[in-house]
């Protein structure tokens, strides 16, 4: 079984590495703020149609544009959910979504979290799914990528106040990158069995003579962008575990690749923009190292099975099967679990709440690392670059120079922004969890007793604040308390990071670019990669070790104590 896993992981990494390269070449000109030669006329036409003048923005305007655009997006999505009963494309006659849930869901999809407090097939009309949720799948992804572009420009522009134009970035990313990829992926998914229709739910009598109703809908078109945009909000409640969302091993592999495709491509685009592709490789390798190690850890934990069940006479050697699908087995499930939480996707092909204690701790920790191991589209790169700045700062001092990254000196203002970023998510996660395990409405949501219940809450806030969206889904989160708490965590976890990132980008762009010499710390070699990996892991470990000790670690030690 382990062999099967390593083969699968090998193929996955090979395909990812091969596709990241052209993806980087595709994204790089857009990141630089232009389109390649023959597309220029098309581009000019598109911009004119959208009424956009491609003028440079300073970081403040860029940030304001991000906020305004996303605020409007959230309002539109909220309105759609509340009014869906009156709107067309609603064959099942779904009524208005409840206020708290609609609020939570609007924020969830706008922030690229795609936390789902609702069950798709029994809550959302086709119109809401298409025009509301799927559109935000595109736009939240484009927003993340645009912010990453702005940060890349910050690193690579010299003495400039111009971070590019947010409107043009969103438009170009959506139309030139996300849309074509989605169309192709959607059709492949349909070929494999993913639904794509607007019919009402199908009912028939089964072989055994029961009535069975199957939910229907335009699934493939949403599934494609759900993965490519690292959104993860499933059309159905069971998400990518549902056979109509993820019917085969091939779709499973494609979905995993789709999740990592753009985050991986962005690292290469970053290298191209920096004029030194090794810089991109370094980030890519650092991410890969953590990812591979974590995937192996999940697989090792899951294939051990659950000793409490083995004791009842079941075949523990086949792994921990509760909450997993047979067509994926331990190998493809473990890999997917790691992919979806390393990236801030949050789609699931297995129920994370039922993972073994350690198998569940790894995805939780991957989120707590700040979603920087590939991470969300755009957000993964800018998050990782924040860590790179942090690593460079400490290491740079150690080589006796004012720390610099890509020729930009890292100074007090930059550190302030880094400090805000590394403070925000731990504050949201730890304070949110603390409030929930103290207060009655928080405790009411717990599905599992004891340490696992604690893990459910910790997982929820880790997921929300880091914009992942996966869950230990036993937690009954569709309550006013959790809808509000998690909604706030998602909003701040997204925009309280984006604003300092843009501020740093602006500050960096305005700086001179220093020449690199033998005395500057190289940021492309093995040493830097280990340093970056070390910083990410150390910060993650130091921040969350006590909480993890009281949740999954204690649970693991208890389960295996006998």
């Amino acid at each position: 079984m382990m062999l099967q896993f390593f083969c699968l992981q090998g193929v996955f990494m090979l395909l990812l590495t091969l596709s990241a390269h052209p993806m980087g070449a595709w994204l790089a000109p857009l990141a630089a703020g232009r389109v390649s030669g023959r597309w220029q006329r098309v581009d000019a036409m598109l911009l004119r149609m959208a009424g956009i003048r491609d003028e440079g923005m300073g970081w403040r305007q860029y940030a304001l544009a991000v906020l305004v655009f996303n605020l409007l997006g959230a309002l539109l999505l909220y309105a759609l959910q509340r009014l869906q009963g009156l709107l067309p494309l609603n064959p099942q006659g779904m009524g208005a979504v409840e206020v708290g849930s609609a609020f939570n869901t609007a924020i969830s999809f706008v922030t690229n979290t795609n936390w789902q407090g609702y069950a798709g097939e029994s809550t959302m009309s086709y119109l809401t799914q298409m025009v509301g949720l799927a559109v935000q799948n595109f736009l939240s992804a484009a927003t993340g990528i645009a912010v990453a572009f702005a940060l890349m420009r910050g690193f690579t522009r010299r003495e400039s106040a111009d971070l590019g134009n947010f409107w043009a970035d969103v438009l170009r990313v959506s139309v030139y990158v996300l849309l074509p990829l989605s169309i192709v992926l959607a059709l492949v998914l349909v070929q494999q069995g993913v639904l794509q229709n607007l019919s009402g739910y199908t009912t028939y009598t089964t072989l055994a003579g029961h009535a069975q109703t199957l939910a229907m809908g335009p699934v493939a078109s949403q599934e494609a962008i759900k993965m490519l945009g690292t959104n993860g909000g499933g059309f159905f409640n069971a998400n990518s575990a549902h056979p109509f969302e993820n019917p085969t091993e091939l779709t499973n592999l494609l979905q995993m690749l789709a999740i990592f495709l753009i985050p991986a491509g962005l690292t290469h685009a970053f290298g191209r923009l920096a004029g030194d592709r090794r810089q991109g490789w370094a980030i890519y390798i650092a991410m890969s190292v953590i990812f591979i190690a974590c995937a192996v850890a999940v697989m090792a934990a899951e294939s051990q099975g659950n000793p409490l069940l083995t004791a009842l006479g079941i075949d523990g050697g086949s792994g921990n099967w509760e909450g997993k699908e047979v067509r994926f087995g331990m190998a493809a499930s473990s890999l997917f679990i790691t992919v979806t939480t390393a990236a801030s996707c949050g789609a699931v092909n297995a129920m994370h709440d039922s993972l073994t204690a350690l198998g569940g701790m790894v995805p939780m920790w991957l989120m707590q690392l700040g979603e920087v191991v590939f991470g969300g589209v755009g957000s993964g790169l800018y998050g990782m670059l924040i860590f790179a700045v942090l690593a460079v700062f400490v290491a740079g001092l150690m080589v006796g120079r004012t720390p610099e990254y890509l020729g930009k000196k890292i100074e007090a203002f930059d550190m302030k922004m880094v400090a805000l970023v590394i403070l925000t998510t731990p504050a949201l996660v730890l304070l949110g969890t603390a409030a929930s395990v103290l207060l009655a409405p928080g405790l009411a949501g717990l599905a599992n007793p004891g340490m696992h219940g604690f893990s459910e809450v910790l997982y929820a806030f880790s997921s929300a604040a880091n914009n992942n969206g996966s869950a230990f889904a036993g937690l009954s989160a569709n309550t006013p308390f959790y809808n509000a708490m998690l909604g706030i965590a998602m909003w701040l976890g997204r925009f309280a990071i984006i604003v300092p990132v843009l501020a740093m980008a602006g500050n960096l762009a305005a700086k001179k670019t220093l020449a690199t010499t033998n005395g500057s710390m190289p940021t492309h070699g093995g040493l830097f990669i280990s340093l970056l990996v070390g910083s990410v892991l150390l910060v993650g470990a130091l921040t969350y070790l006590p909480a993890l000790a009281l949740g999954p670690v204690a649970e693991h030690l208890m389960i295996w104590a006998h």
């Binding site: 099967q4 699968l8 959208a50 003028e55 300073g58 403040r60 544009a65 409007l72 539109l76 298409m130 025009v131 509301g132 559109v135 595109f138 736009l139 106040a161 409107w167 139309v175 849309l179 989605s182 169309i183 059709l187 349909v190 070929q191 639904l195 229709n197 739910y201 028939y204 089964t206 072989l207 055994a208 069975q212 199957l214 335009p218 078109s221 949403q222 159905f236 409640n237 549902h242 056979p243 109509f244 091993e249 409490l308 069940l309 009842l312 006479g313 079941i314 075949d315 086949s318 509760e322 909450g323 997993k324 699908e325 047979v326 190998a331 039922s354 340490m451 889904a473 500050n507 649970e555």
Partner: protein, 203 residues
């Protein structure tokens, strides 16, 4: 912050005009990505791949009896059982997918598994060896169409007995139905329960 010197004219003009471009862009992209895109994909799918796009339904004698991708609730002694389903209101509820979300140390999980083992063993003879884990644990979607090959073979003695079949031949049938998983061995092979039950002969 003082280091940022944006062109003040450019700044004020753009700030004034922040809401309008945002609205225009949001609405434009909503039409493109929320209507044109999914409708176009639906159109293509319905023309090119109608069977898959509508649920890979299996028709027997002119009647839809299920989907090749969705499991069904089987509980009679003479049919192969699928995996336990934790879907809301009834097992294998195709309109309410979901798993049990029971944690590994939750006593409710051990209790449920113990009950399922007992039910399996009560229904008839089983193959020797430990109970295949997937046969007594709930799937993620509650709609898992498969069981492991081991789980199918485990049930062969019961079905052979009830249906008066030769256990060896039934085992052959099961093995024919088995699908291999990527890079896998027999230990990770699986069987589509609906398809298997559809080809089950009576002795």
């Amino acid at each position: 912050m003082q280091s940022i010197v944006a062109n003040p004219n450019l700044a004020s003009r753009a700030e004034r005009a922040l809401w309008w471009p945002a609205t225009r862009l949001l609405l434009g992209l909503t039409v493109l990505l929320g209507l044109i895109y999914p409708l176009a994909v639906t159109g293509l799918a319905q023309v090119l791949l109608p069977a898959q796009a509508n649920g890979s339904l299996i028709v027997q004698n002119g009647q839809v009896v299920g989907s090749a991708l969705i499991g069904q609730s089987f509980g009679k002694a003479d049919e192969f059982w699928g995996r336990p389903s934790a879907t809301a209101s009834s097992p294998y509820n195709g309109a309410a997918s979901g798993g049990s979300n029971l944690g590994p140390a939750n006593p409710a999980l051990a209790k449920a598994v113990a009950e399922r083992i007992a039910a399996l063993k009560a229904a008839g003879p089983v193959a020797p060896g430990p109970v295949p884990a997937d046969l007594v644990t709930a799937s993620a979607s509650g709609l898992d169409p498969h069981i492991s090959l081991a789980a199918a073979l485990y049930q062969v003695p019961r079905i052979a007995k009830v249906r008066h079949l030769d256990a060896g031949k039934l085992q052959q049938l099961v093995l024919q139905q088995a699908e291999n998983s990527w890079f896998g061995s027999q230990a990770t092979a699986r069987v589509n329960v609906l398809r298997l039950n559809m080809v089950l002969p009576r002795g």
